[in-house]
């Protein structure tokens, strides 16, 4: 948005004011997240920069909150639980969601709109309602306070993301490729693994990442369905914030921000790859 040569002073003023406003908004978006990183190295149990920190005095910084995090049984257990539940839910959601997306894109299915509404519903229904519903249901089938219960609940929440991302990659899918494979004598299974799968893989993987982050970040269902044994990272942070707010939370938060940067980069790379494969210009 370069300024044209004929811009009046007023135009120029507006041009620069607008940029300042935009950068202020970008600052608002990112600063709260970034600011936690230096604060997590605070040597004092405060949530603000101490004088030593501002003077870049090494005494003001320490790893004590990370040490506390990695030696705490409850935090370590919650990290294990989060990965355990997240990976379990991701595998289930990816398989179920990919199959459904393949089915939906294949033929005219009766009541497609209704089916789609059911498949998308976990994303639309407020979590508090899903949580309340699952609370009653899971306790009636003896699944509350079990890992299986939490995994199944998170699978349900993750599937819409898989269905949506895989459906999106299937939009540009050329059916004649599978027909060609079949014509050349490949069995349907072979066609699927050799032709379809490599082409939709970017969509499947980014759907899986969405499902994983959904489970990894989910707390409402965990509050209703999980017991002490199944506490996840967000659940531990929840009680940390409510009961005793200690900078250990900032250490956890820093690690989670790094994790989200890694996931964000992966999804972006996959998106570009998928567009390249499908012959679109990379965005």
């Amino acid at each position: 948005m370069a300024l044209p040569a004929y811009a009046t002073p007023l135009d120029k003023l507006w041009h620069y004011t607008f940029r300042v406003i935009c950068w202020a908004i970008f600052f608002f978006l990112v600063a709260p997240i970034i600011i936690m990183i230096p604060l997590s190295f605070n040597a004092q149990p405060y949530f603000t920069f101490t004088m030593e920190m501002l003077e870049f005095n090494p005494q003001g910084y320490s790893m004590r909150w990370y040490q506390e995090l990695f030696t705490s049984d409850s935090w370590m257990r919650s990290i294990r639980n989060s990965f355990y539940i997240g990976i379990g839910a991701t595998i289930l959601a990816t398989i179920l969601g990919t199959l459904a997306a393949l089915g939906l894109s294949r033929a005219h299915i009766p009541a497609k709109g209704l089916i789609m509404a059911v498949l998308i519903s976990p994303m639309v229904v407020p979590l508090i309602i899903s949580g309340a519903g699952m609370f009653f249901f899971f306790s009636s089938v003896n699944l509350s306070n079990t890992f299986l219960g939490v995994i199944l609940a998170h699978t349900a929440l993750g599937t819409p993301f898989v269905v949506i991302t895989v459906t999106a990659t299937l939009v540009g899918f050329d059916e004649s490729l599978t027909r060609a494979a079949a014509n050349l004598g490949a069995s349907p299974t072979r066609t699927f693994f050799k032709i379809t799968m490599p082409l939709i893989l970017p969509g499947v993987v980014s759907g899986a990442l969405f499902a994983f982050i959904t489970s990894f970040d989910e707390i409402v269902i965990v509050l209703f369905v999980a017991g002490v044994e199944q506490r996840t990272i967000p659940r531990e942070m929840w009680s940390g914030i409510r009961e005793d707010l200690s900078p250990t939370i900032l250490a956890v938060a820093t690690l989670l921000v790094l994790l989200s940067i890694a996931l964000l980069s992966t999804v972006e790379l996959l998106r570009r790859r998928s567009e390249r494969i499908r012959g679109m210009t990379p965005g």
Partner: protein
């Protein structure tokens, strides 16, 4: 898909010639095609079926079950069948106690219930159910039920001795009114109404109303957050849409990083920033703008909820808005200016109307998410920043009035469904984009 269309063409267009055509194994081509088509359809359904069955069991059914709780009312009719029958002749409008037969029936009901094995006894849940309507009913039921074996005629006096509540027409009115297997009473309560002695439904006294104002506050907070996300999201989406792709993608990171960061992390970030001993207050004190004793309270109140939720939901506004703005050709604005429109007029009459689909999509999305929000208001909202979800959670977890929680939840769900329907009309659920 292309194959299906082709076979349809064949069906209608050249029916007669098709009748004559046969496949290699002698089956008419038409029937063979139909069969293949049906097999494809069944196969596709088979692929969708596992997920559909899974979601129906683990997700849809539990929600239906929860909604059923908001009208389900088995406790009274199951535990007190004789009393309910005896009460039929009693006029609840008259301000007097029911006759002796009703007390005798109640004695018989309680005695019958005491005979049952402990796990099947209904008096426990009956007491809880009556307690939602009349406070103290729980202890009245449990205390009386234990003594009822020793009661002698006239039962009326014995009951009045056992607990003072039996001497008030109120509890008898409730038993008579709630003696059907379905009830509207949770909804009556959820809408801040109550039953008058004559059975009509009236608004509660000013001081006792909670839920309507909470619903209104939830909607008002969501509307505020929606307005703020629009005010903040519009300029940056516009800015990014005017930049070359490479630069815009770099700036997109500023939007996507918060989008991908854990909700709890973002919420605790705002606590860290906004609390009394937090970064903003300390900076302001350090700069001498405010005194140490007059630190601002920006968190654990409505301000905290609004700031944190605006931050959390801003990406949901920016993403659809940006993708719509990308698609608007810049030549339109140039044409408008070339035809003599001032920049503001060109923006208002030419550019802005074209962004409306994006505003609609992002706006409904932000509104839907925020009216059902629970975690952030619970952590940073304090008392004034509470929303309807927090009240549902309270009834689920501490007051244990599950019927009322279900009624409030159903009302919330219905509002979300209506909004989602609007969203669907505006953009279509299929066009939902991620990341």
């Amino acid at each position: 898909m292309a194959q299906a269309d082709a076979s349809m063409d064949l069906d209608t267009g050249r029916e007669t010639s098709l009748e004559r055509m046969v496949t290699a194994d002698g089956i008419p081509l038409k029937r063979s095609l139909k069969r293949a088509e049906r097999r494809r359809k069944l196969f596709a359904l088979g692929l969708v079926a596992p997920l559909l069955a899974f979601l129906l069991t683990v997700f849809i059914f539990p929600i239906g079950q929860m909604m059923w709780r908001s009208v389900d009312n088995p406790q009274i009719i199951n535990t007190l069948p004789r009393t309910v029958e005896a009460l039929e002749a009693w006029d609840p409008g008259a301000d007097e106690l029911p006759p002796e037969e009703v007390f005798a029936a109640l004695q018989a009901d309680f005695a019958a219930d005491q005979e049952l094995p402990r796990r099947q006894q209904g008096t426990g849940s009956l007491g809880v159910r009556l307690n939602y309507e009349v406070s103290g009913a729980r202890s009245a039921v449990s205390r009386t039920a234990r003594q009822v074996d020793g009661f002698a005629v006239p039962y009326k006096d014995e009951f009045l001795d056992a607990h003072r509540l039996w001497g008030q027409p109120e509890i008898w009115r409730v038993i008579k009114r709630e003696s059907r297997p379905l009830t509207a009473s949770y909804y009556v309560q959820a809408l801040d109404r109550e039953y008058a002695p004559d059975g009509s439904i009236q608004l509660r006294d000013e001081g006792q109303r909670t839920y309507i104002s909470l619903f209104l506050r939830t909607f008002a907070l969501s509307a505020t957050i929606l307005g703020l996300t629009f005010l903040l999201g519009f300029p940056i989406s516009y800015y990014m849409s005017t930049l070359p792709m490479r630069q815009a993608n770099l700036l997109m990171i500023f939007v996507l990083l918060p989008f991908w960061t854990s909700l709890l992390v973002r919420t605790s970030a705002w606590i860290v920033l906004l609390q009394q001993q937090g970064v903003i207050n300390s900076t302001l004190v350090g700069l001498g703008i405010i005194g140490d004793d007059s630190r601002l309270s920006m968190v654990y109140n409505m301000t905290g909820t609004i700031v944190a939720m605006t931050h959390i939901l801003l990406p949901f506004m920016v993403l659809p808005l940006y993708s719509v703005m990308r698609g608007i050709p810049p030549s339109y604005m140039r044409a408008a200016k070339g035809l003599g429109a001032r920049p503001w007029t060109a923006f208002r009459r030419v550019y802005f109307p074209q962004t409306l689909p994006g505003i609609g999509a992002g706006g409904v999305l932000v509104f839907i998410i925020s009216i059902g929000y629970y975690i952030t208001p619970a952590l940073v909202g304090g008392q004034s920043g509470r929303m309807i979800s927090n009240e549902i959670a309270r009834h689920m977890q501490s007051s244990l009035n599950w019927g009322l929680a279900a009624a409030l939840g159903t009302l919330l769900l219905v509002s979300v469904m209506i909004l989602y329907w609007v969203y669907n009309r505006l953009v279509g659920a299929d066009s939902l984009k991620l990341g």
